[in-house]
Symmetry: C2
């Protein structure tokens, strides 16, 4: 899944080049490319399918030149994860309804790739042996308030558990309790299932979504698929797969894993995951001369020298035509700032 | 005089386009162009001579297309004001030793141009009638610690006084005393004299400078002048006209004037002189969305939106490949920052 617009990282992440296409960790590979590299030992490259917004078709082709156009499914509208995942499932089922699928965001960080591979292989074994919807649940390493949590029930096989409850982002006290009691894992948004299992679950739990794709049953896997999607995809309701299916279905399981995961959902998360220089600052793609300046994150597109005096725990993000200077503690306000920029200047700076 | 590099306004002012070439007040005219416009009612345009560094020849031609190349004297090296003024005086004297001259920086702000014209005309009358070196002294309007002061003696004609003393930048207490006692004016760096008067004063007070130019006596005003300057100018000592002549000569006078002068020597001075928006910020050439941000100056080259949260009394200066974020209270550190940038990156960001 590669269709997000990364607005929480605005203006470093922009509509024309959102987060997943950026070399966010200075490794020389974008988050999308790192996600692709990570999955290749498990999934043959001809079986990798990218779902993205039509406007990012060229970006995907450029960053993943090994893929054919048939492997890039272009959503004509943004409709959250349920319609995206439904399309992928119907598309794959047209070739093989028994196919097992891993669905993964393309903009997360995973540091322990071998452990990731081991966990995913174990997950595939489980969903191939059982009529199961499996989500990967990350064993929490801090009382994070920015993630959803899943309460695990008894283990059914290895690290796989029945799910007891899904829980929204908790406050700090509750998050501490969750972590201490050992029954909770973070909802990673990475899923494994067979094509026919998720399609059946969509029928049971989100019939309004399944109905749209059922209409195109004859089109999937044929030359008519694109035209069908063009015509009907936008009529899907916009809803996440968690709300549409995972929180309602009876056959939901969670595999408790630990492979150095971070969703890089916020500037602070990026700060925490990134190496600091001697001043305690994180620099993305820029040179910084810092005086009395520590705890900052400097993210700059293009070759730039940043000279800063007297700044602590700020985000300084420069994207050529937009400069953001904002305390990390106020990063949740960035969404409002993006809206204000839209109100004042239209799409120019988005 | 148009050869400065404006390093106190780095990086908004850069070696390739220093302060005098920038439209610093958003009027559509650079400080140089404003200085030219201001002098035209007094000096016929064919008598305007620009002294600048050779690297700025194209900038001057571009900004003042009415001038011929013969009116642009290109210094092959930076040698402060005394050699610059000496060259101009010898150059002009070759055409007319009786010529009266006004020497003015090109990067100051003067708000009351009619009063400026009246004062300059009165000054010319004085130096044409007397063997006098005249400097314009600004009646102080605040206890400024960033300027040099001149103590005036008795009036000799209208607002023209003999000079009692030149005084370096005072501390605040002394500056308050200076302003209160009414005997002190600010040293503006604007001078009036006849060509032969300043040349005589150079002989008397700075013979090491005069000697260099005397060697070229036959060259000035001829095709040989450029070659002479190329060969000999750099051998002049680097010294200001104040040190070389004004603080030593016997025939120095000051005209006490009041025409809304500011040397725009610092970011704070620019902040003080500029209109504030509703947030109390000053913006130079950019759009700003400010949240909890006041008292700042935002100076940006190129079309840019600045979004800022939680910043008070800072300088934010963006020049494409350099971004400076610095408290206004630390602006005297910018010189050190420029040096640090040079040490780390050579001339790349200067």
């Amino acid at each position: 899944m590669c269709g997000g617009i990364g607005s929480r990282f605005w203006p470093y992440s922009r509509t024309d080049c959102p987060k997943q296409f950026i070399d966010f960790l200075g490794t020389g590979r974008s988050l999308l490319q790192m996600s692709y590299d990570r999955i290749l030992p498990i999934v043959p490259k001809e079986n990798v399918i990218i779902l993205t917004n039509a406007i990012y078709a060229d970006k995907v082709r450029e960053q993943l030149p090994d893929l054919t156009d048939a492997q890039i499914l272009l959503e004509p509208a943004r409709r959250n994860t349920a319609p995206c995942i439904a399309w992928a499932a119907y598309h794959i089922a047209a070739f093989d309804p028994e196919a097992s699928i891993i669905v993964t965001p393309s903009d997360h960080l995973i540091t322990r790739e071998a452990e990731f591979e081991r966990c995913v292989r174990a997950g595939f074994e489980f969903v191939e042996a059982n009529d199961a919807l499996l989500t990967l649940g990350i064993k929490p390493v801090r009382p994070e308030t920015g993630y959803g949590y899943i309460q695990v029930d008894e283990a059914v096989s290895g690290d796989v558990h029945k799910v007891k409850t899904f829980t929204e982002k908790p406050d700090l006290e509750l998050a501490k309790t969750f972590v201490a009691c050992g029954e909770f894992v973070w909802n990673s948004g990475i899923f494994l299932w067979r094509a026919r299992t998720i399609i059946a679950a969509l029928h049971d739990n989100a019939p309004e979504v399944a109905m749209v794709f059922d209409e195109g049953a004859d089109a999937f896997g044929t030359a008519a698929e694109t035209a069908f999607i063009e015509q009907r995809f936008a009529s899907c309701m916009s809803i996440s797969i968690d709300y549409a299916v995972m929180e309602k279905a009876r056959n939901v399981y969670v595999e408790a894993v630990s492979f150095g995961w971070n969703d890089l959902g916020t500037w602070s998360a990026l700060y925490d995951m990134s190496p600091k220089n001697k001043d305690g600052n994180v620099t993305q793609n820029c040179q910084v001369l810092a005086y009395n300046a520590t705890g900052n994150i400097f993210a700059v597109r293009g070759d730039k020298l940043v000279v800063v005096d007297g700044l602590t725990d700020y985000i300084v993000a420069d994207a050529g035509d937009v400069l953001l200077i904002c305390p990390q503690a106020h990063e949740q306000r960035i969404k409002q700032m993006v809206n204000d920029a839209r109100l004042s200047y239209g799409d120019k700076y988005l």
